[in-house]
Symmetry: C2
Subunit: 195 residues, 2 copies
């Protein structure tokens, strides 16, 4: 039997992160039940994203304008760059509304296991930005994982001769965090970095 339209859609949904065959079937049936209110708008919205969303050549953000609206925003401080792993992290920092500089999305982390070196990331672009624009400070907002810390150290080493200040996000107890539920590493780090 050739694959039907429904089976093909279920197979595609099953490839999304967090999805299996069962949840894909469930979502596809839900979509068909809500054809006019959900399936048709979804098709239109996906088409819009395919046609309009591009990676910003400057910072690596996703947007319909190029450069992206953050890079174009004259009110933001272009002398401070926040370096993040990917666009999801950029969005997380934007939601916090705590940063008014510009961003640089690496598009991943250095990883010996996965064979990702500096040239697979957007590090050469970052170096160009530091050399050519008036960047005076870099804030590393990388995950507190082995790969995240390795990438941070690499960036500090690589750019230490350039006239740019490099800092990292503070590590410690998350706001609202109960000590009892935190892992030992977090408590040790928070103790060492006490103020």
């Amino acid at each position: 039997m050739t694959e039907t339209e429904l089976e093909s859609l279920i197979r595609l949904f099953a490839r999304l992160p967090g999805f299996g065959k069962r949840s894909a079937r469930r979502v596809v049936l839900h979509l068909i039940k809500k054809k006019e209110s959900l399936l048709v708008p979804l098709a239109q919205s996906i088409q819009n994203v395919i046609e309009h969303i591009r990676t910003c050549p400057v910072c690596g953000n996703l947007d319909s304008c190029s450069p992206c609206h953050i890079c174009q925003d004259q009110r933001r401080d272009k002398t401070v760059l926040c370096v993040v792993q990917d666009v999801a992290d950029l969005w997380a920092i934007e939601r916090s509304a705590a940063f008014k500089g510009k961003y640089h999305v690496l598009g991943g982390l250095l990883s010996a296991i996965e064979g990702i070196g500096p040239d697979e990331l957007r590090l050469p672009v970052l170096e160009n930005r530091i050399r050519q624009q008036e960047v005076s400070e870099i804030i590393l907002a990388l995950p507190a994982t082995v790969d995240g810390q390795t990438t941070g150290h690499y960036i500090i080493e690589r750019f230490k001769k350039l006239p740019v200040k490099i800092s990292s996000l503070a590590q410690g107890i998350p706001v609202g965090g109960e000590l009892d539920y935190l892992d030992d590493g977090t408590i040790q780090t928070a103790l060492k970095a006490r103020r």
Copy 2:
């Protein structure tokens, strides 16, 4: 700020069952990363489903042909109808490959709380099928919930004067089920229905 193409797509994904804002963002970013291999095929596949998939006017299944391929299949026994709540249940029985008759999808269950009566379901269509076609047996494959059992009893009452045999799926211990992990109700039912 007006909603961007990305925000609009994330909002639609967040309305799918099992999704929240966070998982919707994750899926949308994943789709954009795999634009050619996943996002574009998904758009095409959704378009195909919108254009081709229809509810079968006979049994209520979803298919690109009308009547559906199960209703058209001459090798299947048209004297036996399996009554299910929705298309997902029809698919589950088809996967088991244990049933070679035809189906009737109710499109829901009777529910006093949600105000769903017999005419909201495809029960009049079922009555017509029994009266007009050579249906000699109905198998109720409804969920073992209060609404499922209520709907089953209603169907038995409604059709008891028609020349049709009505049976239900057996209840008992699922295959591979450990007694220790089963709820009391299942064990009681399995004991009462012992063979």
